[in-house]
């Protein structure tokens, strides 16, 4: 039976064009002669899966499939398409009877996603034709483009999009060994405020957050007239905080009183997590607040807060540096920290990213003694995680990892990069001293994995002075 299907798929397969033509299956005479049920038949059960599974084994890989003119009323037939052919580039569903968005869920939703689809044809389906007839062509195109972010051509027309340079399938063939370190070459550093007047940033934050706590309306002054604001709630449970039992500890007695509902649906448009907006395009637009007035109105509908940005500076972390858009530099300011949510008195963590411009002369911001003006503001609220996460110093990858002391790092700083990072990694994993670590790596062409294997072979025979003393490391 399988062999019959394989034979039939072979008849429909154009290997040179990488095109599997599955159109008009209900009228296929060969299938009828061999008593095989058309995969597009409403009675078909396993047939589509059998065909797609066979297709997934074709060489070269299938690039294009046509399911045109199969009288498809629902998307059920495509349930396994994304599973077997995840890299499908072009799909035609021309001339079918698909009439609702949910018919595309099997290839554009959580159950299945053709994430590399470049071209799609839906001409002749009610889902398209009705929208066009009712003057909703733009909404139709937007909805499709939103469901298939990789799409470039819809119904023969290009979709306006932005491109990135990275290859979709990596074709890089480097001759250098791809050394992957097992440790971090870099440490956690304190707040970085670079390329900008330090007080400008701290003055801004020191004024912004108390107003956010006590008088959100007054913030209208500091937003540009065409500013953008949105907030997202990341409701996932943070792994490390969970392991430490923060949410049930006596130190945080009010965590269980916190609820996500005011963040998910409050703020005049709700939480804006673009990865989860499989609902309507409306939500994507409504949750983005345009202009200072809208921004401040939305914020007024969010829970009251208490930040303590000046009282406990270690609980906050700020990274700020200039960004260049055209001629004038703006300022990117990212703040990470915590606040007490009222009235529950539970603690939340947050990340807030601001794009700031220098407040122009005569602007509302300048008139109210703000040096800067907010162009964009994105707020993320998360379940509480401790500020220990950004405590400066070296970081472990696995439990039990050795960490370098400042003295060891000092000695290593004389070694040029990238050898320095490879030596540091080897030393932390083997305790070898610098000379032995360098020799080991040199003898193995600076390939870390080979060097480690070499070390394992010879370590029993190494003298005690091949190794660093205990106090070279922190554990």
């Amino acid at each position: 039976m399988i062999d019959l299907w394989k034979e039939w798929v072979g008849r429909r397969w154009n290997a040179e064009a990488r095109f599997l033509n599955l159109e008009r299956m209900n009228e296929d005479e060969w299938l009828k002669r061999h008593r095989l049920l058309s995969p597009a038949s409403p009675d078909a059960k396993k047939e589509p899966q059998v065909v797609f599974k066979i297709a997934s084994k074709l060489k070269p890989e299938v690039e294009t499939i046509s399911l045109a003119h199969n009288n498809l009323v629902s998307g059920a037939m495509m349930t396994t398409l994304a599973h077997y052919l995840p890299k499908l580039a072009n799909l035609s569903l021309e001339g079918n009877r698909l009439s609702g968005w949910k018919e595309l869920d099997n290839i554009s939703g959580r159950r299945g996603r053709l994430s590399q689809l470049r071209e799609l044809v839906l001409v002749g389906n009610p889902i398209r034709e009705l929208e066009y007839k009712n003057n909703r062509a733009q909404q139709y195109k937007s909805e499709i483009a939103r469901r298939f972010p990789s799409l470039e051509i819809l119904d023969g027309e290009p979709i306006a999009r932005v491109g990135f340079d990275a290859p979709a399938l990596s074709t890089s063939t480097s001759t250098r060994p791809h050394n992957m370190l097992s440790t971090f070459a870099f440490q956690m550093q304190p707040s970085l405020i670079a390329g900008v007047d330090g007080p400008m940033v701290s003055n801004f934050l020191g004024r912004y957050f108390p107003l956010y706590d006590q008088q959100r309306g007054a913030l209208l002054d500091v937003y540009a007239p065409d500013a953008t604001f949105s907030f997202s709630a990341n409701t996932a449970i943070p792994p490390r905080a969970r392991i430490e039992g923060i949410h049930v500890s006596k130190e945080f007695p009010n965590q269980r009183k916190l609820e996500w509902a005011p963040w998910l649906s409050g703020g005049l448009g709700g939480s804006r997590n673009l990865g989860r907006m499989t609902g309507s395009l409306q939500k994507v637009t409504q949750s983005l607040h345009l202009g200072g007035e809208q921004a401040v109105k939305a914020m007024a509908d969010l829970p009251a807060t208490r930040h303590d940005i000046t009282g406990a500076p270690e609980k906050f972390c700020v990274d700020a540096f200039p960004i260049y858009q055209g001629e004038k530099p703006n300022l990117l300011v990212t703040v990470h920290g915590q606040f007490t949510e009222l009235p529950s008195e539970g603690i939340r963590s947050f990340d807030r990213s601001f794009v700031l411009a220098v407040a122009p002369e005569g602007s509302r911001a300048r008139q109210n003694d703000w040096q800067v003006m907010i162009l964009s503001d994105q707020l993320v609220i998360r379940a509480y995680s401790s500020f220990e996460a950004w405590r400066p110093g070296p970081m472990r990858v696995q439990a039990g990892d050795l960490l370098p002391t400042p003295a060891l790092l000092e000695v290593l700083s004389a070694v040029p990069k990238p050898q320095r990072y490879l030596m540091q990694d080897l030393i932390l994993r083997t305790r070898l001293n610098l000379q032995y670590a360098e020799d080991c790596l040199k003898n193995n062409d600076w390939d870390l994995e080979r060097a480690m294997a070499n070390f394992e072979q010879v370590k029993a025979n190494l003298p005690a002075d091949a190794f660093l003393p205990e106090n070279a490391f922190m554990s």
Partner: protein, 156 residues
């Protein structure tokens, strides 16, 4: 009044979706040292946990200095930034990242409440800008974008 159009917002939303998928799958792949730098240009400014890096060489140095990663994006958001056309995009990403072998790579006698090895919460903010020197290569492409600014922190 806002100068942003509905079209700007839609293109930005799709760009962010595409970008986050592409960026993190590239980051988590064995070829990241060669492939991630393609997202950046010589004038890109980035910080990794407060450590600054510059340009393509800076990114390459960073990519070679951290263990293997597995990212899980839990939420992301994107605004077109008012002031230029085509607009730059502010993208913020929140999620978790596992380094090395994760909890499975911890020694057998590791106590249960030890956090090392377990995924960390990360927050990453990008500014994506149109590249004036790279014309769009495919029909429909409004512009080729690259990462002009990138700030990452472990936050949990």
């Amino acid at each position: 009044m806002s100068t942003l159009t509905q079209n700007d917002i839609e293109i930005a939303t799709r760009a962010a979706d595409n970008f986050t998928r592409l960026y993190y799958s590239t980051y988590d792949s064995p070829t990241r040292v060669d492939d991630i730098p393609n997202f950046y240009r010589a004038n890109s400014a980035l910080t990794w946990n407060g450590q600054p890096f510059e340009g393509i060489e800076g990114v390459r140095e960073l990519m070679g200095g951290i263990p293997t990663t597995k990212h899980e994006v839990q939420s992301f958001d994107c605004h077109p930034i008012p002031g230029s056309q085509p607009p730059s995009l502010l993208v913020t990403v929140s999620g978790i990242v596992t380094h090395g072998k994760g909890p499975a790579g911890n020694p057998a006698n590791t106590p249960r409440h030890a956090v090392d090895g377990h995924p960390r919460v990360f927050s990453q903010t990008f500014i994506l800008a149109p590249d004036p020197n790279a014309p769009p290569t495919k029909s429909g492409e409004v512009a080729k974008y690259y990462i002009t600014a990138d700030a990452l922190r472990f936050v949990g």
